[in-house]
């Protein structure tokens, strides 16, 4: 035990003095989510505002006066004298945003309680155009509706046979679980893996590349203990990367405007001791699994470059099951509970929503622990081969 501790102490000192490790394992995961969230929401808001306030150039052909008057505000520019033949070109080259062509009998039909026809020419690729024109047409429509209700002496309820009051019994927690629940594990699994990756290269391949391994192999301390010390160090850095991601995400959410208070309350609710403990119980074996797997793979490489070429394909293998958990309809069942990575992602989703079944959770943690043991055993096997350890 003392040897393992000695190795951990040395490796942590060594690796934490490396700015690259600090950046990839602590700083980047902590900042990634807030920056991403902030960046995306700000960008989205900006784009929406821009589209919403942009003046639309619209041509109305054969429009009745009470429709024309709907479009008389500062956000629309009405263009007159348009020949129908050139409409498509005008929209394509951007000189017009949309054209409304009213049928000759439009007014007549509307007046006689029928549907008046019109063609709306626009490009669906121009966001918001259709929506903004519909808003105008809808307000015309409601005026006509009111007139008709009066004319036919109907109550407005006669035209609305259903009155639905929605009672959503999904708690805010569950809603969040569904909305971002898949995203949280996706992000922390990836950062946990990346957090393990750099120290694994540094602590295992680095010893070979720098030629320090020979001396290390001549000490009486057992090779198993030395490897365990290294694996634990790598796993610790992976865990810290994952935790920094989650911490960064929750801190980031508090500083972004426009998040409904219900949502924030629910997030505070999620971040309880229970969530953190349950997450830890999965994160620890996950990190040890990553550490063992990475060590076993990079031990055969004699340079960083070579090690990187082994590890990069592996990161895809890790990302794919994490991505599957993002898909709608993929849930924790007795089948998915056995699939590594996918099971931890799905379980996290359920824990956030508060709907996890204890039996599922035990299997997830149990299978992760088993996997971690297998990975460490595998890496010890590799580490014991003299052809692997020496250049």
């Amino acid at each position: 035990m003392k040897t393992i501790f000695t190795v951990i102490k040395k490796e942590l000192t060594d690796t934490l003095r490396d700015k690259k490790t600090l950046f990839s394992a602590i700083l980047l995961p902590a900042l990634a989510m807030p920056l991403l969230l902030l960046g995306v929401t700000k960008l989205q808001q900006n784009l929406l505002n821009k589209e919403q306030n942009k003046q639309l150039k619209v041509a109305l052909i054969g429009a009745p006066q009470n429709i024309v008057s709907q479009f008389k505000d500062t956000t629309f520019v009405l263009v007159n004298d348009i020949a129908l033949a050139g409409v498509k070109d005008s929209i394509n080259n951007g000189s017009l945003d949309a054209v409304l062509e009213f049928k000759p009998d439009f007014q007549e039909k509307v007046s006689s309680l029928q549907s008046g026809g019109l063609n709306l020419y626009y490009k669906s690729t121009n966001l918001m155009v259709e929506k903004r024109i519909r808003e105008k047409l809808d307000s015309y429509k409601s005026i006509v509706m009111n007139d008709r209700i009066k004319q036919l002496e109907l109550s407005s309820e006669a035209l609305e046979p259903l009155s639905i009051s929605k009672i959503d019994i999904a708690s805010p927690k569950e809603q969040i679980g569904k909305m971002i629940g898949g995203f949280i594990p996706y992000i922390f699994i990836i950062f946990c893996f990346m957090g393990c990756m750099y120290p694994a290269l540094d602590l295992i391949t680095g010893e070979k590349e720098r030629g320090t391994i020979e001396t290390l192999l001549t000490v009486p301390a057992s090779r198993f203990k030395i490897l365990m010390g290294k694996t634990i160090t790598i796993a610790l850095i992976g865990i810290s990367a994952a935790l920094m991601t989650i911490a960064g995400m929750f801190v980031g959410l508090k500083f972004i405007d426009g998040i409904p208070p219900d949502f924030l309350n629910a997030i505070n609710d999620i971040l309880g001791l229970k969530f953190i403990l349950m997450l830890f119980a999965m994160l620890i074996p996950l990190s040890v699994f990553f550490a063992g797997l990475l060590s076993a793979i990079v031990v055969r490489a004699s340079s960083f470059k070579e090690a990187q070429s082994y590890v990069t394909p592996l990161s895809f293998v890790i990302i794919i099951p994490a991505m599957i958990a993002l898909m709608p309809g993929v849930e924790l069942t007795w089948q998915t509970v056995w699939i590594p990575i996918l099971n931890i992602a799905l379980a996290t989703k359920e824990i956030i929503a508060g709907t996890i079944q204890p039996a599922h959770y035990i299997v997830v943690v149990g299978s992760l622990i088993l996997l971690a043991i297998v990975a460490v055993f595998f890496s010890l096997k590799q580490f014991s081969k003299e052809t692997m350890v020496l250049k």
Partner: protein, 254 residues
Amino acid sequence: MIQVENITKQYALSKKQRKELQTNSTSISAVNNVSFTCKPGSVFSLLGPNGAGKTTLLRMISTILTPSSGDIKVDDVSVIENPQEVRRRIGFLTGSTNLYDRLTPGEIVKYFADLHGLDASIFKERKEQLFEQLNINEFSKKRIGQLSTGMKQKVSIARSMIHDPSVVIFDEPTSGLDVITANSIIELIRQCKQDGKTVIFSSHIMSEVDLLCDDLAIIAKGNLIYNDTMDAFRKQSEGKSLTEAFINIVNQNN
């Protein structure tokens, strides 16, 4: 005391390696049935051209590699039966050994002392003595990355000697070092001899060998082709330079 008894090291060849080496045999011998003895209080030098198997042999003595057959006894402890116990008795230093760049000399020496399971009080005493002797105190708190090659080599020495090994193994300890730094190694070897330790070192620099060594062995292509005292070797060289004599012996056995 090191007793090397009929030691052989074979490596299995993969299909690709067989093609590269244009051979049909499934294995290659890096060291072939070699025996010799290194006595305490004397310096044994292992000579041989590049690729002769010197490093493989020294790695087997230091338990980094396991012999395919034969045995090596270090102070009467077998490297095959009890490698852990052998490791307690040996200090290992190579010219190409690097250190951990982000640690300080103090931290590195402490790390290796801990891995050797040294008592705190013994460690303190040994460290003070070694740091004093090698003038490491001036830079003991700087990180290795900031030190010169000479300073690093001194730290490597301190690291290899911290547990006061009775057997010291040097694999081309002076290769790539300037004369002044190389001299610190030569001093160390003399010191070890004086202290009654068993010293084995590999080299192909005859002047160094001439200066230090009591017994020598020459190996080529994994085979032992000469093993005698330095005095006998000098006599045999019949007025030729030692380098010439060395080349002659290697060529005769080619």
